[in-house]
């Protein structure tokens, strides 16, 4: 029964992350929501690794890879936010229309 608890927690965290991703106006808060999404996926992987594949823990290897990717993603994302802030002088998502037309 414990597996379901972890999966439900991960699903709840994922939904909170999506809500933040859609409704945030601040670009940095959007980045934080993406981190929440990645963490939810990681919790899923580790739960499966512990309950379905405990001897040959491949899920944990995937977890380590996802942590690596998340670190790279947040570095590049913050650099993009800084570059946009320097050009537009705002971090409001509604005003980023450089690629709109």
């Amino acid at each position: 029964m414990q597996l379901e608890y972890f999966l439900l927690l991960a699903a709840a965290l994922f939904c909170i992350g999506i809500y933040g991703l859609v409704t945030s106006r601040n670009a940095i808060r959007v980045l934080m929501s993406i981190e929440l999404l990645l963490n939810a996926v990681n919790l899923n992987l580790l739960a499966f690794s512990n309950y379905l594949d405990p001897a040959d823990i491949k899920g944990q290897v995937f977890g380590v890879f996802i942590i690596t990717i998340a670190a790279a993603e947040s570095a590049v994302g913050l650099a993009i936010v800084l570059a946009i802030y320097r050009n537009r002088n705002t971090v409001d998502m509604e005003q980023f229309n450089l690629l709109k037309w």
Partner: protein, 201 residues
């Protein structure tokens, strides 16, 4: 239910409540600095859950990388771009939030139903437990060697990309002597003029 399972369940409930509360705070609080610190709380409770899942190495990596690097990076980002600005609220903002909340609740319902209904075939093999780190190392250097090397290349690309993106644009040398010990930077005035031209176009 013996003592160990009870302790596990209680710690799972406490960690889950901490995680969900902190995550809601990250998304809902007005002040973004509070959000950033609560994000650290989310990461720490996630790491506790990893320990409950017999994944000590990943828990340590989570604390080192997420709390130590990503969270600090986000705090620095907030310090660099934090400007008090009144967001112009449209009249229909509440409608968008309500629809988004409904969609997210629906998604959670769907996922939850799927999780509860699916008959998981739990494995009965002996858990790796303390030897998890050794097992991870074996995987990384045998069957996951190529992804491991690709991850290092990806990290290098992210490093270079972040530097290139965050660096200020350099002016072409126009004969003016730069003051010593200063990087030649594009003046703010020129950038503003460029922006005005862009907007006019």
């Amino acid at each position: 239910m013996n003592l160990a399972e009870g302790v596990q369940l209680v710690s799972l409930i406490i960690l889950g409540a901490m995680m969900l509360g902190a995550a809601l705070g990250v998304v809902l609080l007005k002040n973004i600095v509070y959000s950033a610190f609560l994000l650290g709380g989310v990461f720490i409770s996630m790491s506790g859950m990893y320990i409950l899942l017999n994944a000590g190495f990943v828990a340590a990596a989570q604390i080192l990388i997420y709390v130590g690097a990503v969270n600090i990076l986000i705090l620095f980002g907030i310090m660099l771009v934090n400007k008090e600005e009144p967001y112009l609220e449209g009249s229909r903002v509440w409608l968008g939030r309500a629809v988004t909340g409904l969609v997210c609740l629906g998604l959670f319902g769907l996922l939850g139903a799927m999780i509860v209904v699916t008959p998981w075939t739990l494995s009965t093999a002996v858990a790796a437990g303390e030897d998890a780190t050794v097992e991870i190392a074996k995987h990384l250097f045998t069957d996951y060697l190529l992804p491991f090397e690709l991850a290092s290349v990806l990290l290098l690309m992210a490093l270079i990309g972040a530097i290139v993106l965050a660096r200020r644009e350099l002016l072409p040398d126009d004969g003016q002597a730069q003051p010593a010990l200063m990087l030649p930077e594009r003046p703010r005035l020129a950038a503003a003029k460029d922006l005005a031209e862009q907007v006019r176009r």
